[in-house]
Each structure stands twice: as C-alpha cells, then as structure tokens.
C-alpha cells in the first residue's frame, strides 16, 4: 500500500558556504546559489520512500525566477520524477504566507498524500511555510522531523524538540518539515543527471493559480552585524597573563 504522490517544495538560496554581504541596503545575491540544505533532505526522504515502494511519484516544486530551474534539476537528478516551476520576476520576494498559498494551490491540483518541506530556508530562517501551509489546508503537521515512517495512511514522526525527541502519530494527508538529522542527501550521480534531462518540468505563474503574491510584510532595513573588533597577538605568556589581569580583568 503506497502513497500516490509526495510533493516536495524546494527553494533556491544563497549557498551555505558563502559569506553574506550587505551592499546598498540589500543582501548581495551575485554569489553562488544552491538548493536549501533542508530541502535537499526533504527530497532525499521522498526519494527514499519511493525506493522503499512506499510512494509512487515524487514531485519537486519551486517558486522563483527562471534560475530556480537549476534547483529543480538538482531535485530531479536526486530522483524526483517531475518538476513544477512557479515562475516570478527576477528580484521579486515571495514571503512564506504567499508561498504557502501557492503550494496549497498546487497541492489541490496534484492531490499528494504527503507534503515534505525543509523546516526553514537558510536565507530568511522563517520556519513558517510548512506550518502556515498545514493551517491553510487544514492538514496535520509534524515539524522538525528527524524520523519519518509511513504505513498505509498512518504517519509516525519523531520530532526534535528543545527537551529531546517527541514521537507523534497522525493520519495522512499531512505536512512534514525536515530537520538536519533526518537523513544525509545523496549526491547527484551521472546516470541520474542524464535521466533528469528527460523529466518534465511544468511552468506556471502565480496568476495561473489565482494567488496574489504581493508581500504583506515590508523589509525596512538590512544591515550587517557590527564588525568584530580585531584580536591582538601577544608576544609571550607573561604578556597574556598581564593583559588578562589588568585589561580584561578576568583574573
């Protein structure tokens, strides 16, 4: 007894290893981008479900400018079956609530039994989309998942919470957001990269889905954190002790 469809939204973000700079009141985005790490984990989990014959089809979905197409290609190269690209103009910002509405619209069309999202995007760190989506759909949600088990229409999820681990059970359809320890995403291997070229990507606009993506929150200011004052090098242990005692006053 397997699920028909797992829908996995993925986001193109500034690469994890890039140092963020603020230029002219905005984040400098002329840098390397890649798939949000938590979304990679979500795709990996979905593909594993398929490999365990617990799901038939994995659909990757992204909301972004034309370059987000690359992120879908990564998802397809990891094993997703097809992609949906909701294209928005370059430079436009789509906030979590609007993204959730878009995903809801696609979910109503595709009818997946499971929605797997990354717990948050590493550019805005909102951690809202999955939760809002579940609210809009009226579906149960299991967030910060470190273990996901599917049996028929039953879902068992182990969540990472402040106090430790919490295991919850719910029925499907449901929304699950992935946390770091859920799995280690696979590399995109050559045979799969080649197969991915033949997979279909459907292009849509927010208008096609009847969703208004005008931001409901305005960003007032973006600044870098204050620069760390430089450390100094001391010549000897004696000097270190003297400075700790007389200047830092910690001895």
């Amino acid at each position: 007894m397997s699920l028909n469809r797992v829908l996995v939204p993925v986001k193109r973000v500034v690469d994890y290893a890039v140092k963020i700079r603020v230029a002219g009141g905005k984040v400098d985005t002329n840098v390397k981008h890649s798939m949000n790490p938590f979304d990679e984990i979500a795709i990996e989990e979905a593909v594993r479900l398929k490999e365990k014959k617990l799901a038939k089809e994995v659909i990757a979905l992204t909301v972004g400018p034309s370059k987000s197409n690359e992120t879908l290609r990564t998802a397809l190269a990891m094993g997703a079956d097809r992609g949906v690209h909701i294209e928005v103009p370059e430079g436009s910002e789509v906030l979590p609530l609007q993204v959730a509405k878009l995903i809801k619209a696609v979910a109503e069309k595709e009818k997946p039994e499971l929605l797997l999202l990354g717990k948050q995007a590493i550019d805005d760190d909102s951690s809202q989309t999955g939760q809002m989506l579940a609210g809009l759909l009226g579906w149960p949600q299991a967030t910060f998942a470190s273990k996901v088990e599917v049996a028929g229409d039953k879902l068992t999820v182990t969540r990472e919470v402040d106090g430790g681990l919490e295991t919850i059970a719910s029925k499907l359809p449901a929304v699950v957001t992935t946390d770091l320890r859920l799995n280690e995403p696979r590399y995109a291997t050559l045979p799969n990269i080649m197969k991915a070229k033949k997979k279909k990507v459907e292009k849509l606009t927010p208008k096609d889905l009847g969703v208004d993506v005008t931001p409901t929150i305005e960003t007032v200011k973006v600044i870098e954190p204050p620069k760390r004052a430089g450390g100094i090098k001391v010549e000897s242990v004696d000097e270190l002790l003297s400075k700790l005692k007389n200047e830092a006053r910690v001895l």
């Binding site: 590493i122 990472e160 280690e184 995403p185 590399y187 291997t189 045979p191 430089g230 010549e235």
Partner: protein, 549 residues
Amino acid sequence: MRLLRLRGRIPGCLSASSQGRTLPASLAACPRIFAPRRSFTVARTSCAAHSPVLTADRYPHLKRDTRYKALTDEDIAFFKSVIKSDAGVITADRPDELEPFNEDWMRRFRGQSKVVLRPKTAAEVAALLKYCNEHRLAVVPQGGNTGLVGGSVPVHDEIVLSLQNMNEIRSFDEVSGILTCDAGCVLEVLDNWLAERGYMMPLDLGAKGSCQIGGNVATNAGGLRLLRYGSLHGTVLSMEVVLPDGRIVELGQPLRKDNTGYDLKQLFIGSEGTLGIITAVSILTPRRPKAVNVAMLGVSTFEGVQEVFKHAKGELNEILSAFEFFDHTCLNLVKHHIPNVREPFTTQTPFYVLIETNGSNKDHDDEKLAVFLENLMTEGVVEDGALAQDSTQAAGMWSIRETITESLAKEGGNYKYDLSVPVPHLYSVVEEMQERLASVGLFDKNGSATGRVKHVVGFGHMGDGNLHLNLTSTGWAKDIDEAIEPFLYEIIQKHGGSISAEHGLGLMKAPYLQYSKSEAFIELMRSMKSVFDPNGILNPYKYFPPLSK
C-alpha cells in the same frame, strides 16, 4: 626600486575571515553534512616518548661539519640584542617551545638545534644572518615546517631561523592583482584575505593552513591548481631576499613584464633555503572564479583515466582548474581513517578522478560540463560519477582527495615518493613497485595487506604528470628501504622522469639527484651556491648529493 610599502599594517590579515554565516544552532551543531573544506594544520606535541630518532643517529654518515662553530652564550646575547623580545629567541631552557621546530611534519626527522630565532623584519634577518655568516654558524631557514623531504629542520645543531613572525601583507593592487607580502604569511590566510577582494592565491595545497608563502616559493610548491594557474616560476614577480653577507636585495620588480637583467629570482624559487632567505614575495594573483564545479568519476583502467583527461582538455578547455586521480586503495584508506567521509557514488572502480572547473560565468561552465559528462557516460569512458550540487558537496569531494595523505600517515610506516614521468607510464610505476616488493616477499599483490609492506598506492596531479607513490608498512626498516631504493629511482631514470616532481630534494632526495640531473648540471649548481653562500652556512647537509663518491 623598492617594493611598495603601505604605512602601517593592513589590518585583519592575521584573522582568517569566518566562513558561512550565523546558522540556526541545530545546523551549526551538526557538521557532518556541512563540514568545511579540510586543510590540515600542523599539530604540535612534544612528547618525548613519541619523538622520532635523531636524524644524526639515523644517518650517521652525515657527520657534523667541523667548519661550523658551536653556539655560545655570546651568540645568544647578540641574537637577543637584535630581536628585542623574549619570545623572538627560543633557547634550550624552554624545550617545549623549542622542540617542535626540530621535528618535521612527518615526524621522521629530528634535529638538535639549541636556539630558534623569530625575527620580525628583514633588517633583523639581515643582522642575524650576517652575524652567523661571520661566525660560521649554520642556519636552517624555516617556514611552516610542512615539507615532506626533511628540508626544513636541522640535522645537527644548526640554528633555526623561523619566518613565522614576519606575516604582514605589505600591499595589494586591485587592478593588476599583484600582492606583496612578508614571507611568513600563511597561505590560507592570504587566500582568505584575497577572497574578500575577489582574488585568490594561484596555488593550493593540503598544507595551506600551516605552510607559509616564503616556504612555498623556496620549495617551488606545486599543488592542486598548477594545471590552471601555472607554477610559482610564472606567478612570482619579484622577491626580497637576505643574503648571508647581510645584504637585503630585491630580485626583480613587482611588474608583469620586465626584461632587464638575469632573472635571478628563478634561482631562488625552489632553492630550498640554500642561497639566501626569502623575506618578502610579490605574486600575481588571479581573480577568484564566480563559478566552481567539482565532479568525481569512477574509471576502470588507467588508460581510461587518460581518456577522461583528453576529453577534459578538449571539452572543458580553459575552465579546467584541477585534474586529480587516486586509486581504489586510497579511497578505502580514507574511508577507514577519516570520520564522516561519504562516497559520492557507490560503484567501486579501480581508479577515481576528481575534476574541478573555475570560470566567470556559471551558465557557460554548466553547459560545457554537461556536454563533457554526457560524452563520458555515453562513450562508456567512465563507469559512474557524481557532480557536486553545492559548495558543501564540492568540499566533501575535495576532502576525499585531500585526506589521502593523512590516512596514509595514520596507517603508519609511510614511505612517500613524489615523481614525474610521462603520463602514459604514470601508474606503471606503481605496478612495477608492487611487482618488485612482491618478488622479495614484502608485499601481497592480492590485496590482503598482510605483507610487511601493507599497501602500495598511487594518487596525484594527473594533469601535471605527477604521481605521489606511497607505501605503508609495519614500520620503517632497512630491508624495506633497500627494496624500494634505488630501484624506484632507476625506474624513474629509465622513463626520463624526475625523482622529485614537487616535494623537492631536502635531506631525503639529495643523494639521488644524479638519477635526474647530469654531473655538469650539478657542477653548475655548486658554482651558484658558492656565489651566494660561499661559507655554506645555509641549510647544510641537504639539496646537494654528497661530494665523495
């Protein structure tokens, strides 16, 4: 013409800029997926119980040359009058501080220096060196001490002159990319500093976290990006050197083109501290690429590896920035010794290739790469492979290649050889060595690792025809030494290759120089040495084969 000097220091050159940004705690606490690029740093422990045998005891034929004076208190007093800080002169009454300078990174060589000098300026270096020259005190110039041929540590009681306190960036021209800095600047620190300005160092090696640019230049370090950016002979524009007679001379000028006079700096590049002490370097740095791609491939035969290389040169062409290969045993050792290593793909093949591209336009590079990879798959040149989808995966792939050295060291009894032969014969050197050691009962060719020589592996800079041949054993032993050398050097000579492609001569390879160079050549070398260092105080016992034959 003097090297440009900015007033005061350029701040921030010592602190490596932090990678990445603030992440939610759960992400930062779990580094296994997002491990930063590994670069090993030299871990120093001076535990007497684990110290290697004194070099002087291990090589008794290298007798202490009597023309060198022994250190006296007057000498130390003089040194202290030049370097006015206590920490700048480390004497034998502080053995914990002194001993790390006496031991090399491989823990194979240990000298008996009684003093380490750490000057801060070229003027101090000049005063110290002039004094040593006049009093016939032998000196070993030392940078990051990461060399692999025992060239950076004393054999007897030579004085160690460390450049580590000369670590300021003097100037940088953002239009031409010409960087001028002190010789003691750590390579990785320089690279991080340049990264903030959109540039990069033209060389990269596993030791980047500890090695210093002066040492890199003195040893003509090669590394992972020579394929794309060329050798230091091309990228170093000028240098400031201190000669034994105390003169501070600028060799060349920080200019891209200059045809005025003998290009003396070329003699110093790769001279391993035997002609003078390099105190500053002007180097041409390339723009940091906007688009970097890394792929790892599995190939069945070495001929296949060469096919991949041909394709890479043809289809990737100007964006190819690194082409490394390693054999299956290397991968197994890495998986065994290094935590959190992930294989990019599961197909096991006898050889693996790591390719990197650097370019200014992502779409352009992605397209070239796509064509290249597709051709490799459809023509069956590779069995499998993977393409990194983000920086973390790229770092993970590089980590596999870069931790081979560490894994071999952990296996123990690690014999390291670095050679160049024509590319088609590169792996046959490994096979001939395996054959040889099996024939004397030291090695099991069936891969059981039960012989006293457990593994014989090959990896390296395929694109440069440079093989790192390594053997691991139950421990260094005379019969293993004799089974390997001079047999190995004879094979290399037979192929017309170099006994040391990039590691240099140091102590280890100096006796075998004649396998790669003629007598006439070595004669000329000795002549040059007598011009710059007539009293022979700089880095004695090394670089030159012994005179008596």
